[in-house]
Symmetry: C2
Subunit: 449 residues, 2 copies
């Protein structure tokens, strides 16, 4: 069942487009999954993607829209009238619908909403547009199955059948009171195995996990993962059931968070992707490059300061790249482990235990590296005192880098700043500068220049 | 409903343990979710964690075992007899049970399996232990609801009720033929809304996504994400239905993959965590530090080679850290975007388009950085030709780093090596060395020394 786009398939599609052969193109694509068609469209040029989109049945196009890369989607939406977009949106779940509408230009947004056919659906979407996209409210959909605590099992099953029409997947059945306040949940299994006359109040489970509309989406992801939930109900300030978040939306949040950390470690500010334009790439990358450059200018001043005085110890200078690279490497290792520990909860704050373990790691690694270095230097240059100065300061620099690498992310976390910044170029270049200062400081002490 | 471990709670638990007050401890913890109790146990010392585990009801302990960090779980399992472990395992789903058994020492494994009460369950677990843990077979569980294509809706509902006893969550109902070969799936909704006498063959959906037992787990994750699946059936070589993978297991795969990439970028080989011992940390970190050191030794030779001849152009040397840091930063940026592009499928192989875009970004960023540098150098040192040499070679080094950063991960990917390696210290230090070579080469050309 694995679908792979082949060169042949793309060529066939392209030539069908050139021939303007709508029918055969339709027959070719009609059997494919919408996610596969979206993948194909991303490989075509703008006009080709539009052409393919226009030949497809309306039941498929809505799902395709959702799967497309932002760039291709914008290109498709541009050519559609408000009425046509509304027709697509009518096919989508409320959360997905709201996501697409949120991307539209302000003027088109209202037009599209006014063209929506299903008024209830439209109301739900408008409601969802109000929430911050980084909260449970921004993540949730309105499609859910709920029953009143005062009903019995039979009424429930009947009601569920009609509600389930609008719900693609039934994750849980939520129980509410007359004011729509969340009381608990029902398992499908219990419902299937209980006599039809039993009142719901007797069978429902009163313990139910939930989040508030303003719970941050990373927190929603954490809770759903921790408690192994496939869906979680969302309540408003008055505890009224207003929506539900499903695991597939949370998977996206988890991936985005991981991507963000990775990009920060690589010194990229915004959410830069391979498909972005040159300008967007520069906007996301140049700032860190410039910050790194400015910090390294300080390093150049330190070197300059020491340059004349160390001409007699010429090897000092040539080990500067080795020293700063090693300091950078160990610093990044230290902070990456802290950042991941904070992210998965295995580390919560500064812990003496953890810190001394990290120092131990740095001490042992540093001693091994410095011993090698001393040996190498002794064999190559036979200046043992200089070798001693270099290898001693190497140990100190490594310890310092490990300390900075551990404490900075913890400090950032404590001050509610994303600790992942600490794995990026800001800290590595800062490590460089401090490392070079310490290096020459210790060399000066040992060699007495 | 958010549970947060408070210091007070931990102190209370610790003093109850000291008082040997099992009853009150039980009452205190009994209401909590197993994931929360696991979190508490991770905060206690070894003996405390064991004490808590022993006071709890057996229905909860199995789930707690599953949630615990590896280290704490090993500590708990050590003190349990094979029979006690078997009792815990009897409570678990087959996939989770197999995961725990796989962690046991070889000798204990067999004992535990022989003590399992439910023979069917034991058979399933033994079967699962055969599969490589990085494949669909290693990820899947045996719990699923399946019906025969020759049944009617009524038989189905009856059979489902009895099967559902063993299945915590019903994701999909799979349809098989008499030889257990996967034919399709049934939606719960259709089953609820179809007359009981209808034969299954008339209502089931023939299109069903599936994976083979030996499909790699990252591929399973990709498919489930792409097609938005909450569960996917797993078939053997003869297309017989042998299990199913659920989205929560795939969430773990996604997180592990992201963590692995992140750690590789940070120069950590194994799966090092904040909770690991000093020795494990060193084993995971020292290799990259040593590799980085050896590569940087080459840089020291290049510097040494140039040192005497550039004493007349003293500022050349002091900008080496700036140059190598900038090259490192832009190289990591370039490869991080490629690595992510390959991971999310937006980049599939070398593309002229993408490469020229990256070169454009490097060219523009390089020109901006070099212009600043030329200005700074001119103001500070007033040696315009040296400034020109430094800033020219900066542009070339940046272009080179961007090229290496783009091509290396693509090359690794093409040769089936994890491209994430390219964001780690190996490439950054290599970039350093080449950068320094290019730098002095160009300076030599321009300054003619």
């Amino acid at each position: 069942m694995q679908f792979k786009i082949s060169k042949e398939l793309l060529e066939q599609i392209n030539s069908l487009i050139l021939e303007n052969n709508e029918k055969e193109l339709h027959d070719l694509l009609h059997e494919l999954h919408y996610a596969d068609i979206a993948e194909i469209m991303e490989e075509l040029d703008e006009d080709g993607a539009r052409y393919v989109f226009n030949t497809l049945d309306s039941e498929k196009t809505a799902d395709i829209l959702l799967e497309l890369d932002d760039e291709v989607r914008v290109n498709i939406l541009k050519q559609l009238s408000a009425k046509e977009i509304a027709e697509e949106i009518d096919e989508l779940d409320t959360d997905d619908a709201a996501d697409i509408i949120a991307e539209l230009p302000e003027s088109k947004k209202e037009q599209v909403i006014s063209e929506l056919e299903d008024v209830e659906h439209a109301k739900d979407i408008v409601d969802l547009l109000r929430y911050d996209e980084d909260t449970a409210g921004g993540l949730m959909g309105k499609e859910l199955v709920k029953v009143n605590e005062n009903w019995n099992v039979l009424t429930c099953v009947k009601e569920m059948r009609s509600q389930a029409e609008h719900v693609t997947r039934v994750h849980s059945i939520y129980v509410v009171d007359d004011d729509n306040r969340l009381k608990g949940r029902l398992s499908l299994k219990d419902l299937l195995t209980t006599s039809t006359k039993t009142p719901i109040s007797e069978v429902y489970i009163k313990k139910v996990d939930y989040v508030k509309v303003n719970t941050p989406n990373v927190e929603v992801a954490r809770i759903m993962q921790k408690y192994d939930l496939e869906a979680i109900p969302v309540v408003d300030e008055m505890n009224r059931l207003v929506g539900r978040v499903t695991i597939d939306d949370v998977v996206d949040v988890i991936k985005e968070e991981a991507d963000k950390d990775y990009q920060m470690a690589a010194g990229i500010t915004q959410d830069v992707e391979a498909g972005d334009s040159v300008l967007e790439m520069i906007k996301g990358r140049l700032p860190w490059l410039l910050i790194g450059m400015v910090i390294e200018l300080i390093a150049s001043l330190v070197l300059q300061d020491n340059q004349t005085s160390v001409q007699q110890y010429s090897t000092l200078m040539i080990f500067v790249p080795l020293l700063s690279a090693t300091a950078g490497n160990i610093g990044v290792q230290a902070s990456a482990i802290v950042v991941q520990g904070l992210a998965n909860g295995s580390l919560k704050q500064f812990s003496k235990n953890y810190f001394s373990k990290e120092l131990m790691v740095a001490m042992i690694s540093g001693t091994i590296i410095s011993s090698f270095l001393f040996l190498y230097h002794s064999i190559m240059y036979k200046q043992y005192l200089v070798g001693l100065a270099i290898s001693t300061s190497m140990v100190v620099v490594i310890l310092f880098a490990a300390t900075l690498g551990t404490l900075v992310p913890l400090f950032l976390h404590k001050n509610k700043i994303d600790p992942a910044i600490a794995t990026g170029p800001f800290i590595t270049t800062t490590n460089d500068v401090f490392g070079i200062m310490i290096y020459f400081g210790i060399a000066r002490m040992i060699l007495g220049y």
